[in-house]
Symmetry: C2
């Protein structure tokens, strides 16, 4: 993976140029390399050897505590020591002040080595990042700082059992805690009451404290809750109470573990049901979990979603990393496993030894498909991260453009790897044959782990509605047009390369079909007819985006090959060109079938009636 990451960062994204910007002036290609070296090493030493073990030794409850195997502690500690929790933070916060694209690249090594190790570091960093944007100075210095240092960890508490995708229906209540509640140095103080579910790392002893970010509603004077998302506010709810300087008071907050979910994968991370304010740990003699308001009341969902977009790119990156792990495992297996012989004109020659299965065309197909999926997905994730950097540190015009392109790419960055790198994992199992179905090889676990990614942080269907229902038409289609301009630029450059000309033509045509489909779908009168086919649009748009990425990568690879001097160690990148070819020839043609139903607002699913299902 490292050589591909280096190719993507330097030969394709030119990240070194970021070092001319004031924010990154302390950095260079060498410091970036050091970060990646460190991540790769720690992931190999402290994550990879334990990935199977944490799958087998599921977190369990002992008394009030959640017990994890010791590897989880060691991995979390190693990750914190790497400094990556504060990778993107200012040096004044003991951060590494790295570009997002380097942070993501470094994290890919950890995610590949053990996606459920590291104690939910992504959550902790995300939690603290949110506070850096929306929190008060006190909240930053007390809650964010400790998280960046790895002493405390963080969670997101959104869903309730009756309110998953429909967050507007949450019923956790937050009431002002006494007459002086507005004067607390840590922020307006409330008491929270309610139950949250699907809380990753919601309870454990990996760190001395856990900082929950909790969505809740502040009741009106008559006790009623504001309907819809406008009524939602965001609160910091520490597991253990702290004073204004951030020192633990020794008192436990009223947050109680109500149970753990037993999952198909991601089993190294505890996933908890938490009761807030049930009275198990009364504070000052009263039930109610102490929470500090973040930002404005009623503004909670906006604050949370500010970080959700980057979380979604992170989910995509995790899916890619799992796909990559399967690709590497099955490539190694295919090189070593011998089975069968080539059929010659007179049949098979049994006097010859069996051949490594990588010599069978169908095995090569399965490996090449994986390569096209996982490297294409990795490129997309890093491309999006590079856009995040542009949004943060580019000129105002370029920052705005980057932000708009990100709007349309984010649903794809999350959903496409979740679907196709899961398929890559299935192919990795298939390459292994029966062995892939056993726990003696890593691939079945990767496939189980990866199945989560189509569900959490906004399901596949939610991503689809976001993309087709909102993003492609927002700002009167301006975001989609900006993406189109980037695609057109790649097409133009592709036309100039003799052996890529055909792909440039095909990509132009495919993107044209996508635009025409959007126009056609939205030309009807019923938005519901469009939204009913949002999900088939997702892989169609995604495959077109990835084809664009692959053409762009192929152009970069050609450039590298042309400047390559014989005898140098730099790789000839023929595999990248072949993967691009695979994607254009085997994958991109699939879009027509998906786009067809979108363009025509096919009514079959909408018209299906409940009582027909059993007929």
């Amino acid at each position: 993976m490292r050589s591909t990451i280096d190719f993507l960062l330097h030969d394709w994204l030119g990240v070194e140029s970021l070092c001319t910007r004031p924010r990154f002036e302390a950095h260079s290609r060498e410091t970036f390399a050091t970060v990646l070296d460190t991540c790769e090493r720690i992931a190999a030493e402290r994550f990879a050897p334990y990935n199977r073990l944490v799958d087998k030794e599921e977190p369990r409850i002992e008394g009030d505590a959640v017990v994890l195997p010791r590897y989880s502690y060691e991995a979390a500690k190693a990750y914190a020591e790497s400094g990556m929790l504060a990778a993107a933070q200012d040096q004044s916060m003991q951060g590494l002040q790295l570009p997002c694209v380097i942070e993501m690249a470094g994290n890919a090594f950890f995610l590949k080595a053990g996606v459920s190790l590291g104690g939910g570091a992504g959550l902790t960093a995300g939690n603290a990042n949110l506070l850096m944007t929306h929190g008060t100075e006190a909240q930053k210095s007390v809650f964010a700082r400790q998280q960046f240092a790895g002493r405390w960890s963080g969670t997101m508490c959104l869903s309730e059992s009756h309110a998953g995708s429909s967050l507007s229906d949450i019923s956790t209540r937050a009431v002002p805690d006494g007459p002086d509640h507005a004067r607390d140095l840590l922020g307006p103080r409330y008491r929270l009451f309610g139950q949250k579910t699907w809380v990753s790392c919601g309870e454990h002893e990996l760190t001395e404290n856990i900082i929950h970010l909790v969505l809740a509603k502040i009741p009106r004077a008559d006790g009623s809750l504001v309907a819809g998302t406008r009524g939602i506010s965001l609160f910091i709810v520490p597991k253990r109470l702290v004073d204004a300087r951030g020192v633990l008071t020794g008192e436990r907050n009223d947050v109680a573990l109500a149970g753990l979910n037993h999952k198909l994968g991601f089993r190294g991370l505890p996933n908890a049901l938490l009761n807030f304010g049930e009275g198990r740990y009364c504070v000052e003699g009263r039930s109610g979990a102490i929470g500090y308001l973040v930002g404005q009341a009623g503004d909670g969902l906006r604050c949370m979603f500010h970080m959700m977009n980057e979380a979604r790119i992170g989910v995509g990156l995790g899916a890619v990393a799992l796909g990559y792990a399967g690709f590497e495992a099955s490539l190694e297996y295919a090189r070593n496993r011998r089975q069968g012989r080539p059929a010659g004109s007179k049949g098979k020659d049994f006097a010859r030894p069996q051949i490594p299965i990588i010599e069978h065309a169908d095995v090569r197909r399965m490996l090449l498909a994986q390569k096209a999926y996982v490297e294409g997905g990795l490129a997309l994730a890093l491309y999006c991260a590079r856009l995040v950097d542009e949004r943060r540190t580019g000129t105002p015009a370029r920052a705005a453009e980057a932000a708009s392109v990100l709007e349309v790419l984010t649903p794809i960055a999350k959903s496409w790897p979740s679907e196709w790198c899961l398929e890559a994992n299935s192919l990795a199992i298939q390459v292994h044959g029966g062995y892939g179905y056993t726990t003696d090889f890593p691939v079945e676990q990767l496939w189980r782990d990866n199945r989560l990614n189509m569900i959490h942080e906004g399901t596949h269907g939610i991503q689809a509605l976001d993309l087709l229902g909102r993003k492609v038409v927002m700002q009167e289609g301006a975001c989609l047009e900006l993406l189109g301009a980037r695609v057109a630029d790649t097409v133009q450059r592709g036309r100039e390369e003799h052996d890529l000309r055909e792909f440039a033509h095909v990509l132009e045509s495919a993107f044209g079909k996508v635009l025409e489909t959007v126009r056609s779908a939205w030309s009807g009168v019923e938005p519901e007819g469009v939204r009913a086919n949002a999900t088939p649009f997702l892989p169609a748009f995604g495959h077109t985006v990835i084809a664009w990425i692959w053409l762009d990568l192929a152009i970069a690879a050609r450039r590298v090959r042309e400047s390559h001097k014989a005898g140098e160690r730099s790789p000839p990148l023929r595999g990248k060109l072949q993967a691009a070819r695979y994607f254009f020839e085997y994958e991109l043609p699939k879009i027509d079938a998906w786009l067809g139903v979108v363009a025509s607002c096919n009514p079959t699913c909408r018209e299906m009636q409940d009582d027909w299902f059993c007929e």
Copy 2:
């Protein structure tokens, strides 16, 4: 599932007409119904409640024995008592003398309720069926009879750790056991030496004996083994030795458990490594497992494959049943789970309660896709079973025609449900959202269980080679032509139905594309170029076959609806028509992308080089 099975058996396949044939003259629609009632009831009572438990309580080794949870014993006993082990056997063998199509339909209930319960009944029946075809009278009355009665169970021992898909490379040896070896009443007696793996139900205490059917090679006089598959012979190797009357002698045969595989799914069934002849249980003071030759020496693979074809339809049926279980579970969940609200012209009205998620178009899409996959797959499996009956009991001309059509359909009957009913299980998880990812709901287990089906009994890639490399061109394409005639007949009838005319046209065109693709691919000079793209041909051919099946079902459903009288309880079958529509509009268009690479003998995967994968 029952109402769909009744529709398929009676309104579509007209199985009642079989009862006019001498073999089935004791049967009637009523006796068939009694069999299905019994299967449905036992499956519901003795299988379904324990399916999750046997997943959790994996088989384990204690001393020399494999310990299973008690539900496995009870389920195996209940299955044996149902008489289904001998469903297709003569009444003189205490069989039910049922058509294969009824046997498969009945087994679908067990497979849906608990695919890894029942103690590998399918294997036992398959083992005994093979002996009824290829065994001697003594072998039938000693080994087959006890298996049909459920007192003994059966296995297939084919793979060795270095010889999975490449069976020609097995190295288990069988040497004549003493000078009188040819005169044993149970068949020519050999001593076997070697190790077999992936032996489902290879060791357990569910039955008093286990009858292994083992592939091994009889060495030449110089001790060498005949290369290739022609050297393979088939042996009966009982776990416990028996005398010529079939009475246990009390002596253990030299078959030793070497380990159990730990699997992703199908965890209720132990999967063993067995050592034959290692000397752990010496017989008459010498090592070597006693085995009795079945059929002719060197004819073992043909004997084994005689039953493999029906085993492959059975694998497809199992995949369908798992898909069906997920469909039913997610349908129930979608009807009860409330989440979200419809977006009206003024946005969502939060004053209204949340709606059952089945009201969301995308959830209906996921349910309708499952319905199209699992009912289409079920119809294909029963269609194939009906062809088996025709082959066995039809007039010579019709039997020959049925056998030829079965040749081309068998790889699809096995592979299509393995791929698309697995996809159905993934959709079932998705309908459940986060809950689907937990062990509190059945769908994650179904998905894990189903992943096996693309691997065992000939991998997906092997099925593809069998189909494109052999079946579609065998007898100069005659088998494919016979299938084409059946498709044409459906197209003709579809044209006469006003609202199905369009689908008839589309199907005709799709089948034409398939034929043209086969012609185009095989018109080249290099068979390797064709075979390299065999796997993409599999779903293309499969989707076309299933579209044909769905059109045929739709025609049958229309006929039922037309003869339906108001007030009768018979179902109006609108769901079948809608699923057909879904399949034609959402699924069938996918074939173009798959066929494209087949027709052009796309060389991308063949040309990919090993050392390019890391570039």
